[in-house]
């Protein structure tokens, strides 16, 4: 019986959905002013600021952006917003996101149209019909061809809603319903998510006064990275690189979010001055060892990454995804790995210095043959007696055996390097690759020694071979 009632009333609601803007809530009256503010003349101003900043960022990068990429995002957003607007008229969803009267938007778009026009100029005219419309009509955005809102408006609305409700589930619900109805594709959903996150980020950061000057910082930092293809690729630089090249919409928005977040954290770090990093003695030592003047960027990168990791672990512990002990042990492992890496780095420097001191190749091979002889003597002892029984007819002499091992390793390494050189995309960076390989091999060799896969001497021999290349 109860369900029959529910059903009837829901039916009634559906039929009467248009006049009802939102479901009344117990504390509904409090929300009303905020909702109504969307309709007031004040809102466009706030929106303008938000959009202006978004535009400023977008505007700085279109020259570097491949026109196709940003175009895709914008056009899809327009399609998306169309879909959303249509859909919202049908569904009894959170009505506050529904398009408000056009006149307010007109004002906004009037102000923004000049900025958007510049963006349009970069678009590939063959990309889509919608874009074509815009290219023909420079003021197309505020001459509403049935599109009452710009993409940014929709995004702003959703973000505001999420912010007010303090519930990310709002977004998930909307998007999943859209996906289920087939109105947007998954990639469009991702793009939307990124943009909403971006605006949300701004909303939140705006709220915190201490970070008032934040929005400008990430822009200037990333601006300096424009067009640079860094030799030493660190994730930070790569993120910024990806950002400037606009390779991936997701990366773009995510990195903006990331940069904002990291910037904020860096701010904390400056104030606290190693408060948390003191718990990572090895990392701290490593930081100290990095020359501040020459490798400031690397230092900064390392700090930010560590901070991110620490925050992440804290977050996970907070939300109960992992237990505090797991978090601690993970961070401890991290520190240990850093210690190992630092040690390897130092060792590498030492061996590099050694090879610098003994450049003559004859001396190097001397070293190797010496070690080979040692190993030969060892092996002969081990295998001499046993070998005879199993090898009835072995054409290869026994004396080949011990030399054979180092030789075999040498041969294998040679083949590897040869193959890597042939198939490495960054063909002209041979020296760099070699040092990468060296580090990797050193690390792996040590790991293998620990696990009992390699003998210490073998590992050393391999490391020597690599460092001599």
């Amino acid at each position: 019986m109860g369900f029959l009632w529910t059903g009837t009333w829901i039916l009634v609601l559906v039929l009467q959905s248009s006049p009802i803007q939102a479901f009344p809530k117990p504390g509904g009256s409090q929300d009303k002013p905020l909702h109504n503010s969307e309709l007031s003349a004040e809102r466009p101003l706030n929106e303008q600021i938000a959009e202006a900043e978004a535009d400023k960022i977008k505007k700085t990068y279109p020259p570097e952006n491949k026109p196709g990429e940003s175009n895709y995002s914008f056009v899809d957003n327009l399609n998306l917003l169309k879909a959303i607007t249509e859909k919202e008229k049908i569904e009894k969803e959170r009505q506050s996101i529904r398009s408000s009267p056009d006149d307010n938007k007109l004002n906004v778009e009037d102000v923004d149209s000049t900025k958007n026009r510049r963006l349009i100029d970069d678009y590939d005219s063959t990309k889509s019909g919608l874009n074509h419309k815009f290219q023909d009509d420079p003021d197309g955005l505020h001459q509403l061809d049935g599109t009452p809102l710009t993409a940014e408006d929709i995004v702003q609305k959703i973000a505001t809603r999420i912010y007010e409700e303090n519930d990310r589930g709002v977004f998930d619900k909307i998007v999943s319903k859209l996906l289920n109805l087939g109105l947007i594709t998954e990639s469009q959903a991702h793009t939307l998510e990124d943009e909403v996150a971006e605006v949300l980020q701004k909303l939140i950061s705006k709220e915190a006064n201490t970070y008032a000057e934040e929005p400008n910082k990430p822009i200037s930092v990333t601006e300096s990275q424009t067009g640079k293809i860094p030799e030493k690729v660190t994730p930070m630089a790569a993120i910024q690189d990806g950002f400037t090249n606009g390779q991936n919409d997701e990366t773009v928005s995510n990195t903006l979010t990331l940069t904002n977040g990291l910037e904020r954290r860096t701010k904390i770090y400056n104030e606290d001055n190693f408060e948390e990093l003191q718990y990572f003695p090895n990392f701290y030592a490593l930081l100290k060892s990095i020359d501040s003047e020459k490798e400031a960027k690397e230092k900064e990168t390392l700090i930010t990454i560590m901070k991110t990791l620490i925050d992440f672990v804290k977050m996970m512990v907070k939300y109960g995804t992992i237990s505090p002990e797991e978090g601690v042990s993970y961070l401890e492992n991290l520190d240990e790995t850093i210690a190992l890496q630092t040690k390897n780095k130092l060792e590498k420097n030492v061996t590099d210095n050694k090879s610098k001191l003994f450049p003559a190749p004859s001396e190097k091979s001397h070293e190797e043959t010496d070690s080979t002889k040692e190993e030969a003597a060892k092996m002969e002892k081990e295998y001499g007696a046993l070998k005879d029984s199993t090898k009835a007819d072995n054409p290869r002499g026994k004396t080949d055996e011990p030399k054979g091992k180092t030789e075999a390793y040498l041969e294998a390494i040679r083949k590897n390097i040869e193959w890597l050189k042939k198939h490495d995309k960054k063909g002209n960076k041979e020296d760099y690759d070699l040092s990468k390989m060296r580090d990797f091999i050193n690390q792996q060799a040590d790991a293998y020694v620990e696990k009992g896969i390699l003998d210490k001497e073998e590992a050393d021999a391999i490391k020597r071979i690599y460092s001599s290349l």
């Binding site: 009344p24 990366t251 979010t257 199993t390 007819d393 390793y409 009992g452």
Partner: protein, 499 residues
């Protein structure tokens, strides 16, 4: 607070994407075959493969050489130690291991990825896992050597750009364990002279026959068949049981952990003493000495066994005389046989795989002589190399896909059942599953506790595997939606009617 959490997650996704992109950029891709690669032709050696017996140090050395030559696609690890302390070495070949990590920053990035991979929906596990295990009986030496040759061969061919091999390595994670019983091998190999005893070195250092040492799940299954009960994933709470079981050899324990840790799909267990490809079940139902005892997947197993034997000329030769004059090979068909039809084996590794995990395993007998003379190794390699590759390729058959919820999150341990085949497989950690099937039309059902099951019809060709994904709706989701609607209705009512 959820908004902040979401934001942090997004930030991390960004970092993740960046890391993944960076690391991906380091992965090697094969191009044109390496021209002008010197081929040293020494006696008994070809392309770095030396056709001779490898004792434990040489075995290690050979695997290390393969790794050194193919760092981009290989990784050595150990699943444990034998009774006498020798490492049970495995070499893994796939395009995933050996990703270059050039410096400290990269390492953190990589650790980051590893740590967060369990928490994100990034599918780092998109390739099926395959394993070869040899030399379980220490004196059955051919399998051990063949696997060492195979590792070298795969590395060489990959670098030459051999399309079949490149594709295999890019689409599969191949784990090769040349010897499960290195102690036994040492004992067998230490015998003077060329003629080796039929039994010396067969069992491990404790005298345990490893292929009778696995928990006998066949017996449980046969009981379940009569009285009702499952016939898959029969070992629950197994880590504890396995570790506490004093009768299990360390080698056996190591393999059981290995099987449970990695979601293997297909496997083969190499032996010697005859020439046939043997498939489940190994133990007779009635307890008699010989009796064809088919498992629910008899059809696909026959196909798998044939895929091996067909490429091995002596094995598939219908006119081949039996290895020994009085041998009974009446059960052999096209070089294949049902295990129990040949002779009953309880506690074997092959059936243990099938009944405790998703892995389908067959047993391959490679040589009439268990420890043949060294100069015959090259011809054994020639006879078997095509079979070994062909069997590897069988993993890309049947149906595969992902089981996810409506939000796109993977559902691990979902059950995938096939109508008409009374044996289910489960999805792995990332929601991925593989179901080997012979060609035909099937109905697949994916289900998980708390979710509504979904059935889909699939037409399966011989190969490649057909992709079928499932998106399951959870009970609670539906309940939540209904609850919300009810709440909203109630509020509306109360507002309207002023109560």
């Amino acid at each position: 607070m959820a908004a902040r959490g979401g934001r942090a997650l997004l930030a991390l996704c960004g970092a993740l994407a960046a890391c993944g992109w960076l690391l991906g950029a380091q992965a090697q891709e094969p191009g044109a075959p390496a021209a002008g690669m010197r081929r040293r032709r020494r006696l008994q050696q070809e392309d770095g493969i030396s056709f001779e017996y490898h004792r434990y140090p040489e075995l290690r050395e050979a695997l290390v050489s393969v790794w050194l030559q193919c760092t981009a696609i290989s990784r050595i690890y150990t699943v444990g130690r034998s009774f006498e302390g020798r490492e049970l070495l495995v070499i893994e070949l796939s395009d995933n291991p050996g990703v270059h990590e050039p410096g400290l920053v990269y390492n953190i990035c990589y650790l980051f990825l590893r740590f967060t991979s369990i928490l994100t929906t990034a599918n780092l596990h998109c390739e099926p896992e395959f394993k070869y295990i040899g030399n379980m009986h220490g004196n059955e030496a051919v399998g051990r050597e063949l696997l060492i040759f195979l590792a070298q061969y795969l590395c060489n061919e990959y670098q030459k750009g051999n399309e079949t091999i490149v594709k295999l390595i890019h689409n599969t994670r191949i784990h090769i364990m040349p010897s499960l019983n290195p102690d036994g091998f040492e004992k067998a190999a230490s015998q003077p002279g060329e003629l080796k005893d039929w039994f010396v070195g067969r069992s491990n250092a404790q005298g345990i026959d490893l292929n009778r040492n696995f928990p006998d799940l066949d017996r449980i299954v046969y009981v379940n068949e009569k009285e009702g009960g499952p016939n898959n994933h029969l070992l629950k709470n197994l880590k504890k049981i396995v570790d506490q079981n004093t009768k299990l050899a360390p080698e056996t324990k190591a393999v059981i952990h290995w099987i449970m840790d990695i979601p293997f799909v297909l496997s083969a267990n190499l032996h010697g003493g005859d020439l046939v490809a043997n498939y489940p079940y190994d133990e007779t139902r009635s307890g008699s000495a010989h009796e064809y005892s088919s498992c629910p997947d008899d059809a696909i197993f026959q196909s798998l066994a044939r895929a091996y034997s067909a490429f091995n000329p002596p094995m598939s030769d219908p006119n081949r005389p039996p290895c020994r004059k009085n041998d009974d090979d009446s059960s052999f068909i096209d070089g294949t046989t049902n295990g129990a039809a040949w002779y009953s084996v309880p506690g074997g590794m092959q059936d243990f795989n099938y009944l405790s995990s998703n892995c389908f395993e067959i047993t391959v007998e490679l040589s009439c002589e268990k420890f043949p003379p060294e100069e015959t190794l090259k011809s054994y390699w020639e006879d078997n190399k095509n079979s070994l590759i062909s069997y590897l390729e069988q993993i890309h058959r049947g149906v595969k896909g992902f089981v996810r919820d409506l939000q796109g999150n993977p559902i691990a341990n979902a059950t995938i059942s096939v109508e008409g085949i009374d044996h289910d497989v489960t999805s792995a950690k990332d929601g991925d599953y593989w179901r080997l099937l012979v060609p035909g039309n099937y109905k697949l059902t994916a289900s998980a506790p708390g979710y509504l099951a979904i059935t889909k019809k699939v037409a399966v060709p011989y190969s490649p595997a057909v992709g079928v994904d499932f998106e399951l709706e959870s009970f609670s989701e539906r309940k939540e939606v209904e609850k919300e609607e009810l709440m909203e209705w109630w509020k509306m009512m109360s507002e309207t009617l002023n109560f």
